[in-house]
């Protein structure tokens, strides 16, 4: 896992705030809507493609600027981003996640936001997702990867 020093106690509260910001935008953009996900997979609206595309564009520009100008974190550390290694899981697991995305209308982030806006039954989806994660962990060394 990460080699970056871990924070404790009050220092973690800032992530709660960033999560709140992220959650509010997810809801206000309606990207947590089951209907919006259906629109996307039926190619009947540009909305989701616009949201994801614009998010990637801003993320890409930010990382480019951070690397180019060697921008440090607020505590003065060098920004470290681990490279991703190619594994078969990105193909097989990715496809399986896609199947689930279209059924639940949610990726992991939106699951939390759906619960927050009052669809408490999505807690069941969350518990099932935990179970899915656990079963993957249990089988990890037996699956092609």
């Amino acid at each position: 896992m990460s080699t970056i020093k871990s924070e404790k106690g009050f220092a973690l509260a800032k992530y709660l705030l960033v999560g709140m910001f992220f959650g509010i935008v997810l809801v206000k953009a309606e990207v947590i809507s089951w209907f919006r996900i259906q629109e996307m997979f039926r190619l009947q609206s540009f909305h989701m493609y616009g949201v994801i595309g614009a998010a990637i564009a801003v993320g890409m520009l930010s990382i480019f600027l951070i690397k180019k100008f060697n921008i440090k974190t607020v505590s003065g550390e060098k920004v470290v981003i681990k490279d991703k290694e190619f594994r078969k899981g990105q193909v097989i697991g990715g496809f399986i996640f896609g199947l689930g995305w279209a059924v639940t209308g949610a990726c992991p982030g939106p699951i939390f936001a759906q619960i927050g806006i009052g669809y408490t039954v999505v807690i069941v989806t969350f518990i099932s997702a935990l179970l899915g994660t656990w079963v993957y962990g249990r089988l990890a060394d037996k699956l092609p990867n």
Binding site: L17, G19, A29, E39, V91, G100, V103, G132, Y136, G137
Partner: protein, 193 residues
Amino acid sequence: MENFIEWISQPWPWYVAGPLLGLTVPILLLIGNRSFGVSSSLRHVCAACVPAKIPFFSYNWKAEAWNLFFVAGIVLGGVVAASVLSNPAEVIVAQSTQQDLRALGITRFENLLPSEIFTWDNLLTMKGLVFFVFGGFLVGFGTRYAGGCTSGHAIMGISNLQWPSVVATIFFMLGGFAMTHLLLPFLMRLSGF
């Protein structure tokens, strides 16, 4: 102030929401050198609660506690968005999508999620089994097997020019298309639509 609340209570267009979501990437990097990603939170919860001596869950999850604070924040963000900033109008779903979904048996489009599926009443029915239990399992299993989800791969990974993340994102989309067009009609009939 009232005008402002009214104004931000409208649904946000993609060119506002997308860039704001993208800003999560530099914010997390700069406030704590954290790589954006949500699905690892599921792994941390498993590691914290039911590690069962499985190597995949034997690591110091406390060092990743920031991720659990982040997802707790997402829940709170949902609460705020639904209370303070809630949109009084109906959700706008493309006419063609409404038509396709009507053909599958969905008739109500007034909320963010179809009220014919996402209720506690459906928990112990085929609807619940398909849409919450089975769907949720695929999301959890798939994202962990893929090593990330829409946030970790599609946004963070591609932003950092990682080609494995491009591959993962392509397969997320392929899975979604396959479900929507090939399997969903069958699953909806099976669950009584």
